[in-house]
Structure formats: C-alpha cells, structure tokens
C-alpha cells in the first residue's frame, strides 16, 4: 500500500533506505530540520544544512521515485543559545520560496526552558508572518506532557489556526489534548521509545482516524524507516479495512500537507 512518511530525517539515512522505502511503496517524505547530534558552531552551519534539505536531498530521493519535502527551523535542542537561534531564524525566510519547503519545523521544546519557549514563540511568529504550516516536536520521555501543554498554550496565545499545525510524537497521555484542541497529531514509531505500531493502532481504535497520522522520524539514532509499513501491516493484521489504513498512512498526511501549495502529491 502506498504511503507518505511525513517525518523522517533522510540526511542521516543511507541511500539503501530510500531504496527500501521505494520498494515498500513510499511516495513522499517530509523532512523537518533537526539537531545533528552535536551543536552546530555558527549560523553558517545551518545555512548549509538548509541547502542540503532544499537542494541535495530532493535529488537523492528522486532517484528512487520519492518526492522529498522539508521544513525549516532552529530545533529545540539548539534553542537554549538564543543569540545563535535568532541568527538562524533570520536566514530562514530566504529559503521559504524553495519548491520543496512546506513550512516551519520541527519547532518545539526539549527540556521546557524559558529560552526554548522564547525561541518557540519567535518561530511561531515567523510562521504566522509568512503564512507557513507548522510541524511541532514534543519533548522526550518525562518532559513530553509538560512540553506539549506549554506548546499548545503558545500556539493559542499566538492565534494560530490549529488546523495548520501538526503536533508530533504524541503518545497516550498527550493525544487527547492535542486532538480535542483541533490540532493534527503525529505518532512516531520507534523501536525503543515514543510509540510502536501496536500502540499506534490502539490509539487509532480509541480516538478515531481524524487528524491522526504515523511516521518513522528515522534519524541517526536507533530508528526504523520501515515503521510506517509495519504499522500498515499491524492494522491489517487486526482486521482493519484498507480504507482506514490508507487514511492513517496516506490520506491524512496528504490532506494536511496539501495546505501548502508546494505539496504536489495527489489522490489517485
């Protein structure tokens, strides 16, 4: 079954992964800007990273028939240094007109600090100023619930339309709040943390199929770019209709992402 992986960091994956994903019928990926595993030393590092996301990665993906889109931001882990963060925010607008840029992301919080929250608010304002979609990272483990609530409040305070925001990495203790407030919710399927294909299927059964999707968030850590197909198989194994599986793994991402005129993947 064809699918979209709406959150995967292909800069950290080999071309073998593109091949496997294409064979599994992945038609598109969207790649948020994230932490490289180390702190970049200057805004120039981010400038080159944004070039990689907007120029090199789409070409690499195209070799396997996969459409590549991206999101731009200063990520939460590097937001504590507000001076650097603000310099990076200044260079984002010049990339927003690139043909594969969908919006601002993955912004959010990491340890829920004041500096992180200030930079989050400034990037929300940037997204609003340039009428961009927003993709949000919610913190890891013990910080997730608090960070999700702080982020939702920041969005509300800025007057952002929830229908243009994807709150990612939801789990059982955050998904209801996200959906009840009208946001889109992403379930990230990791081998050891965040969600799993089984729990994602459980969440769909408990909360329905509106504004909900799955992704692999494949990165340089222990992750699996085949997570979305695994979730498709899990849902089919349980006896869910293919229409529901298609909704979670293709139609919902397609609907949300099509709010950007740059997203060209259509129904067939």
């Amino acid at each position: 079954m064809k699918y979209i992986d709406p959150h995967i960091h292909m800069v950290s994956r080999t071309t073998d992964d593109y091949q496997r994903m294409a064979q599994a019928d992945c038609v598109a990926v969207t790649e948020p800007a994230f932490w490289a595993g180390f702190d970049r030393s200057s805004p120039a590092g981010f400038f080159d990273y944004f070039r990689q996301l907007t120029d090199f990665e789409p070409k690499r993906a195209a070799q396997y028939g996969i459409a590549h889109y991206c999101w731009l931001c200063i990520n939460p882990k590097e937001s504590e240094d507000m001076g650097l963060a603000r310099e990076v925010i200044k260079i984002i607008p010049q990339f927003l007109e690139r043909p594969n840029v969908l919006g601002i992301g993955e912004i959010g919080l990491n340890k829920n600090s004041r500096n992180e929250l200030t930079i989050l608010e400034e990037q929300i304002a940037l997204a609003k100023r340039y009428d961009q979609l927003i993709l949000v990272h919610t913190p890891h483990l013990e910080d997730k619930r608090k960070g999700t609530l702080l982020t939702l409040d920041a969005m509300k305070n800025a007057g952002i339309d929830p229908g243009r925001v994807l709150i990612d990495h939801v789990e059982e203790h955050t998904v209801k709040e996200v959906l009840d407030r009208g946001y889109w919710a992403g379930m990230t399927l990791y081998p050891d943390s965040k969600c799993s294909p089984q729990r994602a299927a459980d969440i769909v059964e408990c909360f329905g199929d509106e504004r909900l999707w799955v992704n692999s968030a494949g990165d340089w850590g222990h992750s699996d770019p085949m997570s979305v197909p695994r979730c498709q198989m899990e849902m089919l194994r349980r006896g869910h209709p293919r229409k529901l599986v298609d909704r979670i793994c293709y139609a919902n991402p397609q609907t949300f992402l099509s709010q950007s005129e740059r997203f060209k993947v259509t129904w067939e």
Partner: protein, 110 residues
C-alpha cells in the same frame, strides 16, 4: 473543535488478541523481570534511584484492574510541574521526573 469520544473498540475478538500478542508480551515481561534481577545483582546501593522507584510504581499500575494503563504509566513517568525551567540542564531525558514523589533522587548521580 472537540474530537469524537474515544471509541475504544478493537476489531479482533479478545481470544484472538491474546492468541496474537501473548507470546511477544510474555517475552517483554521477562525482559522487565530480568532487568530488575540484573539491578539486584549489580554492585551499588541505588535502590532509591528515581527511575527504579517510578518503575515499581508503574508495575503496580499494570495490575490494579483499572483501564488506560498506558496513559497512566506515561503520566506517572511525567514531570508534573507547569512553569518553564530557568535553564536547560543538558539535552537528554532520563525517563522519569527527577523530582518524582517530590524528592530528587538519582542514585549515584546525586
């Protein structure tokens, strides 16, 4: 824009859920048991490490007979403070709130 009420249904019959998933989760349960045994065998005295305290409380939630175990365990492992902190102490998370039950305890981490 409230979401619809949770439907909480599973397309599989209960017997089929057990048939399908039991062996895998028996395996995972053994992993948890072996981890706790390993902690006991390892030298040191971090019995009150916040992560172990939280894990033991989480295990109790598994068999308390109430619903929404996954959500309640995630809540138990969550920082319940509401205000942003002054400064990020680092980048990583440890899996349980440092001030679990109001007492910061991280074993040998202090």
């Amino acid at each position: 824009m409230a979401n619809t009420s949770p439907r909480k249904s599973c397309p599989m019959a209960r017997s089929k859920v057990i048939d399908t998933y039991f062996i895998e989760h028996r395996h995972k349960l053994l992993d948890v048991a072996a981890f706790l045994d390993r902690v006991d065998r390892a030298p040191g005295s971090e019995d009150d490490d916040v992560r172990l305290v939280a894990m033991r409380d989480a295990i109790a939630l598994l068999i308390d007979g109430k619903a929404d175990r996954a959500r309640r365990i995630l809540d138990l492992f969550s920082d319940t403070s509401v205000e942003p902190i002054a400064k990020a102490p680092g980048k990583g998370a440890i899996g349980a709130p440092v001030a679990y039950r109001g007492e910061p305890r991280l074993g040998s981490r202090g």
